[in-house]
């Protein structure tokens, strides 16, 4: 009984619902979708390539380490070399002696400011990268 009634209802709804049409999207729907796909493809074409690749950095690192070891090993670099170099001059400098008027609070404030600026650089960099979707 219940099943028959449901079947009748099914027929009734099929007839009446089928009569109404599906919703109509905008007339330029397909064109808009295609322009979105095109934009996507253009974005994909701009692939960011670093100037020096990871392999390049690895090679440079190896070279630096290799040269350093070679110089130490061959005796070209010796402790005495630093002793007589002009670098010794810098140890005699006392540039901070003239800055006694700067209080600790000012130093802390300045350090905090520098940290905030560094944080902002990373935040802004990420924001712009996301905005322009550089992949």
């Amino acid at each position: 009984m219940e099943e028959n009634r449901d079947k009748e209802l099914d027929v009734f709804l099929k007839k009446n619902i089928k009569e109404i049409r599906l919703e109509e999207p905008s007339s330029n729907f397909t064109t808009i979708v295609f322009s979105k796909i095109e934009t996507l493809q253009t974005k994909d074409a701009y692939v960011h390539k670093p100037l020096i690749s990871k392999w390049g950095w690895g090679l440079i690192g190896l070279l630096v380490v290799g040269i350093t070891f070679f110089l130490f090993d061959s005796g070209a670099l010796q402790e005495s070399w630093f002793k007589y170099s002009k670098l010794e001059f810098f140890t005699k400098l006392s540039i901070f002696d003239g800055l006694n008027f700067i209080s600790n609070t000012m130093v802390y404030g300045f350090v905090a400011l520098v940290i905030f600026i560094y944080v902002q650089i990373f935040v802004l960099k990420r924001y712009f990268l996301n905005t322009y979707q550089i992949k």
Binding site: L9, N16, E19, P25, F29, V33
Partner: protein, 194 residues
């Protein structure tokens, strides 16, 4: 639309003929847009989501394995994207509290709907559908417009086949109640004339 016909155009798109995607868009845009409208209820949002669905489908086309019909796969993406959009906007799905156990008079309703102007008839049916919950409206739409099987509908809405069957049965009765309520003045008037 047959599976082979869709696959023909899918293969063409995958082989670099992007223009063939237009055939698939034109074939399914009405249904995708209708599903989005049933969930989001505003033309602008439904338009935006439907366009994004086709862009997403274009990107994901290489991963379409053909395990189900292209249309089922597409409708599932449309359904999920619409729900995601709703969630992002902080909105939730409606629940319908219509009593499905009351009696209804199919013959009287059928006669009155038959006598109505097409425009008026469509408004009544559309409004009645709008009173169901979004998920039930989607199930009804897929069942009556697309004539999808219970299994296919279950794939689209991510529910078990039995759950879809129960929801369909209850939604039909709720729709009958809503229509009965909307057509009551005409039904009474009809009896008065007799």
């Amino acid at each position: 639309m047959s599976l082979d016909q869709d696959q023909h155009y899918i293969d063409k798109v995958l082989n670099g003929n992007v223009g063939s995607f237009a055939v698939l868009i034109d074939r399914y845009k009405h249904m995708v847009y209708t599903l989005a409208m049933k969930i989001l209820n505003t033309k602008e949002e439904a338009e935006e989501v439907s366009q994004d669905v086709f862009v997403k489908v274009y990107q994901m086309l290489p991963s379409f394995k053909g395990d189900s019909k292209f249309s089922t796969w597409l409708y599932r993406i449309a359904y999920n994207r619409s729900l995601d959009y709703l969630k992002k906007r902080g909105r939730s799905l409606r629940t319908s509290s219509i009593d499905a156990d009351k009696d209804y008079y199919l013959d009287s309703m059928d006669n009155i709907l038959d006598q109505m102007q097409r425009e008026e008839h469509n408004v009544i049916i559309k409004n009645a559908l709008g009173e169901l919950s979004e998920v039930d409206t989607v199930i009804i739409t897929l069942h009556y417009f697309e004539e999808l099987s219970l299994k296919e509908i279950s794939k689209v809405v991510g529910l078990k086949v039995n759950a879809v069957k129960v929801r369909l049965f209850r939604s039909r009765k709720q729709l009958a109640q809503i229509l009965q309520h909307k057509l009551e003045p005409e039904i009474i008037e009809g009896y008065g004339r007799k």
